[in-house]
Amino acid sequence: MTATMTRSEGRSEKRTGASVSVQGFFTRHSALMPTFAALAILLLLFAGAEAFLRGDFITPRNISALLLDNAYLLILAVGMTFVIVTGGIDLSVGSVMAFTGILGAKLLAEGMPVAIAIPVILAGGAVIGLIIGVLVQYFNVQPFIASLAGLFLARGLAFVVSLSSIKVEEPAILWLQSTRFSVGGWYITPTGIIALLAVAVAAFVMHLTRMGRTVYAIGGSESSARLMGLKVARTKVMVYVISGFCAGLAGLVLTAYSGAGYPRNGIGTELDAIAAVVIGGTLLTGGRGYVIGSMIGVFVYGTIKTIITFMGAEQSWMQIIVGALLLLFIVVQRAIVARSEGRG
């Protein structure tokens, strides 16, 4: 009896000892590993493309264009990060972006002042998010199904607004895209600034507010979060509202980018956003991930797209490469989860 006791005590001693040292360092930063990996891949892509194109790739113009061309996707990915960190998913964002974009173009074409049209667009996205959130939280619908319903609803609404594209003449909207604040060869448009602001605000909310921490707690264990007395219901609805709002904002940015609203915009873009978030190191099962990671994910995605355009290769290669990267990242994430579970 005594022998058993000493043995088991010895073992627990050893475990505590080990966790303080190397392993402790690794576990503390393990959540960041996939994000570092994404950053490494981004740099690798840059270096590879630079070598392949003999110094024509890393130019201020190309890098600036990367942000400009992917601003809408970055905004979608920011909202998606909130949802995925809680362990949910939002499939509606591509359609919501199309709906709010075409709605905005139509309202402006009918003479609504821009100061009213923009809030209407943003509120429209947030309301669809609210509906999805309420379905998920209070009607216990799977996020996949609830947001699939949102996808169809928003796409249908987009076609109700208009069956064809509507050109935007409003100078304030066009200003968002056409203005270039430049330093040397570098430039940034107001749409790019909006996207970077979205990242900054989201990172602030995620890491420095109680709501943000509740998002992580829900992703870690929803039942624990509830038993800890956190505001789980409110927060879960809120992440879908945030995602919907971001989709509305993306609709505005995309309309400015393309100079028109188009009801067929963003078909499949929700999957691009999810791919970018996952490549950026956010765990699809929730609880781990960073908004900054999602930004890197979007840049990886955008860089692959640029490289393929430069090479003049088939666009289908885009999907193959993104698919392969996704697979790689999901395997890496499984390995990290398995490691932390094995230790617990």
């Binding site: 009896m1 005594t2 058993t4 006791m5 088991s8 005590e9 073992r11 627990s12 475990r15 505590t16 966790s19 392993q23 402790g24 576990t27 503390r28 393990s30 959540a31 890491h207 420095l208 507010t209 109680r210 921490r213 509740t214 992580y216 707690a217 992703g219 870690g220 264990s221 039942s223 624990s224 979060a225 509830r226 038993l227 800890m228 007395g229 956190l230 609880g287 781990r288 932390s340 230790r343 617990g344």
Partner: protein, 511 residues
């Protein structure tokens, strides 16, 4: 010992009744908790302990009765309400977030803020302070998942301290801890008690209950049995109160227990030092052909844990097994089936039967698994087997095409038994095969087990009903606190002797 009856109670629950569909979960239960005492809530599974705790902590709403906390009548709607009233709960499963840091888990929802922005430095300082007060010197910035379950359990208690709780509910906090870790937890509990915190403690470990408690409330079948100061309730009295004594209609069943067993040959299965850290201390067990070995002990004593290791449902981390004298590795149920070991789980609904399949399909499943999925069983063959077992066990309705989900508990149990028996096992492990089923079905199952063992089948039999164990088993292994404390020949003991053994035996050796 600090508690006495003069202190006004912090929690008074009177006449608490909770109904679930078809079940009276709590029937007019009274419970009183005083500041500065450790009060244990005892009872077998289904006695209503968890339900009472959930009524107090706002997880369940009560159908009638009153809850008074700190002199005020309360009805908590959520766990958050109860926490605000000063009642914190630490559950058996650590309810924290493994993906966050220790400090964050302690402070979550209570982080110090400056203008709505979390002040992380102050948060970690506060967390360090609360961890320190429990003697935990760990880095609040370390990830929770990097610590052992014991530390996590203590972190959960630190969290309760942040809320400055007046009442701390500990629901089976020790079930995954080893002895050293339990001691550490107990030091903390004593410290809190001395500060005037009222502690509600639930554990299946008798030794721990006697070590830490000032007072015990016993529940049975949703009703209050009594409240006693620890000094006035010896262990055997407690066990008797928990188990109760059911008058047994089955006494007429011819006893197989006193059949002589030839233990000179090789045992069907021989486990030596089989154990798993935090689950079961190493135990030996031998079962000979034709023998029924009963496992007796309270729920949570390690009975189920031992047989799960035998069957490979959980993987042992020490010890070895021999089957028919040959060294054998049983690391998964698949291996066990290959060695002709059959295990009928206590959760027949979750781990045994497929309710949406018919009786016949359920019975054939086990045989089919043994045969491999490629070679289909012939219809004639499977019909013969199914009819044979329905007949032999008296499954009602005797219709092979009835859906198992629609059968009564007793008949479901018979189907489960039939499924395993159809695989022609050499060792049959039955975990609570008669719980919650009617007397007739009980008698059928007991009779069949007795017949089969007389024909040479080796059986390990677990039951909370000691009469049943004494009647069926020739030899009884007694478990307590995740440890096998001894073996008895059932011919040598009666029920009082067995209760006494479960409650008191081997005290000297326990640290």
């Amino acid at each position: 010992m600090t508690a006495d009856n003069d202190v006004p109670p912090i929690v008074e629950m009177r006449g608490i009744t909770i109904r679930f569909p078809g079940v009276l979960a709590l029937d007019g239960v009274d419970f009183t908790l005083r500041p500065g005492e450790v009060h244990s809530l005892m009872g077998e599974n289904g006695a209503g302990k968890s339900t009472l705790i959930k009524a107090l902590t706002g997880v369940y709403s009560i159908d009638s009765g009153t809850i008074v906390v700190g002199g005020e009548r309360r009805a908590f709607a959520t766990a958050a309400d109860a926490q605000e009233a000063g009642i914190s709960t630490v559950y058996q499963e650590v309810n924290l977030c493994e993906n966050l840091t220790v400090g964050e888990n302690v402070m979550l929802g209570h982080e110090p803020r400056v203008g709505g922005v979390i002040d992380w430095r102050a948060t970690h300082e506060a967390a360090t302070h609360h961890l320190d007060s429990l003697g935990l010197r760990i880095d609040p910035r370390s990830r929770l998942s990097s610590h052992s379950i014991a530390i996590q359990q203590l972190v959960a208690i630190s969290r309760a301290m942040v809320l400055e709780s007046k009442v701390l509910v500990l629901d089976e906090p020790t079930s995954s801890l080893d002895r050293g870790e339990v001691e550490r937890l107990f030091d903390v509990i004593r410290g809190l008690r001395d500060k005037g915190v009222a502690i509600l403690f639930v554990s299946h470990f008798l030794e721990q209950v006697y070590e830490i408690s000032d007072r015990i409330t016993v529940l049975r079948n949703g009703a209050l049995v009594g409240e006693h100061p620890i000094a006035e309730l010896p262990r055997d009295a407690l066990v008797t109160k928990m188990i109760g004594r059911e008058l047994d209609d089955l006494a007429t069943l011819s006893s197989s227990a006193h059949r002589d067993i030839d233990r000179t040959g090789t045992p069907v299965v021989k486990a030596s030092g089989l154990g798993k850290r935090g689950i079961l201390e190493p135990a030996d067990l031998e079962v000979y052909p034709g023998e029924v070995v009963g496992l007796a002990g309270l729920l949570g004593s390690g009975r189920t844990e031992l047989v799960r290791l035998l069957y490979g449902a959980d993987r042992a981390d020490e010890g070895s097994m021999e089957i028919h004298g040959q060294h054998a590795k049983v690391h998964s149920p698949r291996h066990a089936i290959d060695h002709r070991i059959a295990f009928s789980s206590e959760n027949r609904r979750e781990e045994g039967l497929v309710p949406d399949l018919t009786v016949a399909e359920n019975i054939v499943l086990g045989m089919q698994a043994r045969q491999g999925w490629v070679r289909r069983l012939g219809k004639a063959e499977s019909d013969a087997v199914v009819h044979g077992w329905i007949e032999a066990l008296g499954v009602r309705p005797a219709n092979p095409h009835a859906l198992v989900g629609n059968l009564s508990g007793g008949n479901q149990q018979k189907v489960l038994l039939a499924r395993w028996l159809a695989t022609a096992p050499e060792l049959l492990v039955l975990d609570e095969p008669t719980r919650g089923i009617d007397v007739g079905a009980k008698a059928d199952i007991q009779r069949k087990v007795s017949e089969l063992s007389a024909d040479g089948l080796a059986v390990v039999f677990i039951s909370s009903e000691l009469e049943e164990v004494l009647r069926l088993a020739q030899r009884i292994a007694v478990m307590r606190d995740r440890r096998k404390i001894g073996e008895l020949e059932s011919a040598d003991v009666d029920i009082d002797g067995l209760i006494d053994y479960i409650a008191n035996e081997g005290e000297g050796s326990a640290a």
